[in-house]
């Protein structure tokens, strides 16, 4: 039992050594000639602006979640589509139920306005913060 894991350990050690060895060889052989443009971050040809550690809009998170769900759906759909003919009607109905449930989810997200992108310009900033504060106050009274 333990001996089987030894193979994994040897693989791990050799994998690490292989990477170190190649980096070392490249380090010895490479010609180093730094230039500001060469060492800058590659962003598809654009000039990089500012740090990459910035705050993202929280809305991306919702979009990512919805994307993830449908990504998983596709992963399930591909193998199903391959053997579709052999599986027959049952698998078809089953997959339609699956897709239907996900579509209900999409409709829900859509109808609840979670896919609407925030447009900060549409509401004047002071008004927004004021209404938010009022809401806070009433909430604390509630509780």
């Amino acid at each position: 039992m333990l001996f089987n894991f030894a193979t994994a350990l040897v693989f791990l050690i050799f994998g690490g050594l292989f990477v170190l060895l190649n980096l070392g060889i490249s380090r010895i052989l490479q010609a180093r000639n730094p230039h500001p443009v060469k060492i800058s971050t590659y962003e598809c040809g654009e000039l990089p602006e500012g740090e990459s550690w910035i705050q993202f809009n929280i809305r991306f998170y919702v979009v990512a979640l919805v994307f993830l769900i449908f990504e998983v759906e596709i992963i399930f759909l591909f193998p199903w589509a391959l053997v579709f003919k052999d599986l027959g009607l049952f698998a078809f109905v089953e997959m339609m139920i699956f897709v239907f449930i996900l579509l209900v989810g999409l409709a829900y997200v859509w109808a609840k306005g979670d896919l609407d992108w925030d447009k900060p310009q549409s509401v004047p900033a002071p008004e927004l913060s004021q209404s938010y504060e009022q809401k806070e106050v009433t909430e604390t009274v509630d509780s």
């Binding site: 039992m1 599986l87 049952f90 209900v104 829900y108 909430e139």
Partner: protein
């Protein structure tokens, strides 16, 4: 097995999966209904959820004719043991829906999602009660956890509710990580994920007992988190305090009972071999029953000692529910049918009295707007019915006759004494703990019955008839089961029969 056999097995299993399918369908219906209804009408979804629970209840009752069987290629089990818990989940979920309808906390908020998640949580509990594979065990625990996180933070504009959700999530992630590690060790030792095969393999060959012990302790992290057993209880008081009170009531009953279902099934199938006369033997090398006995003793002692100093009734009940998990664990450590039977009986009794106590908390919260014990002063003069009901529930929680709590504790102690001298110390600890619990329950009683109310408070409070009906619906069985408990005892006795071998 070839693929077509696996598919055929899955198709055949569907008919045994009817209650779960009904709940799943109900979740979709609830989402659609929430989309169609206007925001201010979203409370109607509660009736839909209630209807779904009732239909599922009937479907579960119909399953009693089926006997024990394994479905979905040995992933889940349908047996009287699981059905008993399913009935418990459905009735408690239905009661919690009823509590939520009247709750002032939730009034004015969109509640469509709330009832959808409640139904989803119930479905998760169903899966927990019948899971027989380490993968389904893990997934069902996660299912229940994730829906619980959202429900705990449902009052999202309230600080404490958000805090509750965050703490719940962090502890949940941590304990499921530990549990997953335990699962991986167990899989490494036995080479299978099916708990029946694990049981036969462990019984046949002596595995490394240290590795086995570590895997058991890590698995216990996952179960203990659901039971709120020491030392995995830290989330409970904050979550119970911050979550909406109906949800707190549900957390203290539903996931806890489901944790017990998993714990009993897992340990008794994977780590015990059946001997004669309804007694089992733990597998060689690991004395897990003594380990659980220590956990039980620590859980009830810590829960009761910390409850003494609480000023908030919700927190007090949170610690008391930790202590009760300790009491119920006493039945599991005995390695006997009688012990499991006592635990099953106790869980139902505990569900009645605990939901009842939380109902009184909701009523007082709606009337007075506070959960502090000080605001319970003179409640008997201001609102007699909730005060009397609370008295019954607290007597029952303490375990005084003639309430159901007494019978529940009596069965536990009887099983413990019958279990032999090895567990006498646990019985002594439990008795001392019962006395301690009497002290802090009596503090609420004293505040309600003997203390003078503050003069500026209104002299009498009007309890809505809706709450009166609910209170009576919980008080009557709490007393009734203390006098005539044979039907429930028979049902619990029948339900100890769970799927032992494939």
């Amino acid at each position: 097995m070839n693929p077509s056999e696996i598919i055929q097995n899955n198709i055949n299993s569907l008919s045994y999966f009817l209650p779960e399918l009904i709940l799943t369908g109900m979740i979709v219906v609830l989402i659609i209904a929430d989309l169609l209804l206007k925001k201010e009408n979203s409370a109607w979804t509660s009736l839909l959820a209630l209807g779904g629970l009732v239909i599922a209840f009937v479907a579960v009752l119909n399953q009693y004719d089926l006997g024990s069987r394994s479905i979905f290629n040995d992933m889940l089990a349908v047996d009287p043991f699981a059905l008993y818990f399913k009935l418990l989940f459905l009735t408690s979920a239905a009661f919690v829906v009823l509590l939520s309808i009247g709750s002032v906390e939730l009034a004015g908020r969109p509640v469509g999602e709330y009832f959808t998640l409640m139904t989803a949580l119930t479905l998760g509990l169903f899966l927990m009660a019948s899971a027989t594979n380490l993968i389904t065990i893990f997934i069902s625990i996660e299912f229940v956890s994730v829906t619980s996180f959202i429900l705990a933070t449902y009052l999202k504009t309230r600080r404490r509710s958000s805090e509750a959700g965050l703490k719940y999530t962090i502890y949940g992630a941590f304990s499921s990580g530990l549990m997953l590690y335990g699962i991986s060790i167990l899989y490494g030792l036995t080479g299978t994920l099916d708990i029946y095969e694990i049981g036969t393999k462990l019984a046949a060959s002596s595995a490394n007992s240290l590795a086995l012990l570590i895997s058991i302790i890590l698995m216990l992290a996952g179960f203990g988190y659901k039971l709120a057993a020491v030392p995995f209880h830290f989330w409970a008081p904050d979550v119970y305090e911050g979550a909406p009170t109906p949800i707190t009531a549900f957390f203290s009953v539903g996931p806890k009972a489901a944790g017990f279902a998993l714990l009993i099934r897992f340990f008794n199938v994977a780590f015990a071999t059946e001997a004669t006369n309804g007694e089992w033997a733990a597998i060689a090398g690991v004395n897990w029953s003594q380990l659980l006995a220590v956990v039980a003793a620590a859980t009830m002692t810590l829960g009761n000692l910390v409850a003494i100093v609480q000023k908030n009734v919700k927190r007090l009940l949170a610690y008391s529910s930790i202590a009760h998990a300790g009491y119920a664990l006493m039945g599991v450590v005995l390695l006997s049918d009688q012990g499991v039977y006592a635990t099953l009986f106790y869980l139902v009794v505990y569900y009645l009295m605990n939901i009842g106590a939380f109902l009184v908390v909701i009523v007082v919260q709606d009337l007075v707007g506070s959960e502090s014990i000080d605001d319970y002063k003179g409640l008997i003069w201001r609102a007699p019915l909730p005060a009397i009901a609370m008295g019954v529930f607290l007597f029952s929680l303490t375990g005084l006759p003639p309430t159901a709590g007494f019978i529940g504790k009596f069965y536990l102690f009887a099983a413990l004494i019958k279990g032999g001298p090895g567990f006498y110390w646990l019985a002594v600890v439990a008795i001392i703990n019962s006395v301690i619990s009497l002290y802090y329950y009596a503090r609420i009683l004293k505040a309600m019955y003997f203390d003078q109310q503050d003069e500026k408070e209104p002299a009498s409070l009007a309890v809505s008839p809706y709450y009166v009906v609910l209170l009576i619906a919980l008080v009557v069985p709490t007393i009734f089961l203390g006098v005539y408990w044979a039907p429930l005892a028979d049902l619990a006795n029948y339900s100890v029969e769970f799927l032992r071998a494939l």
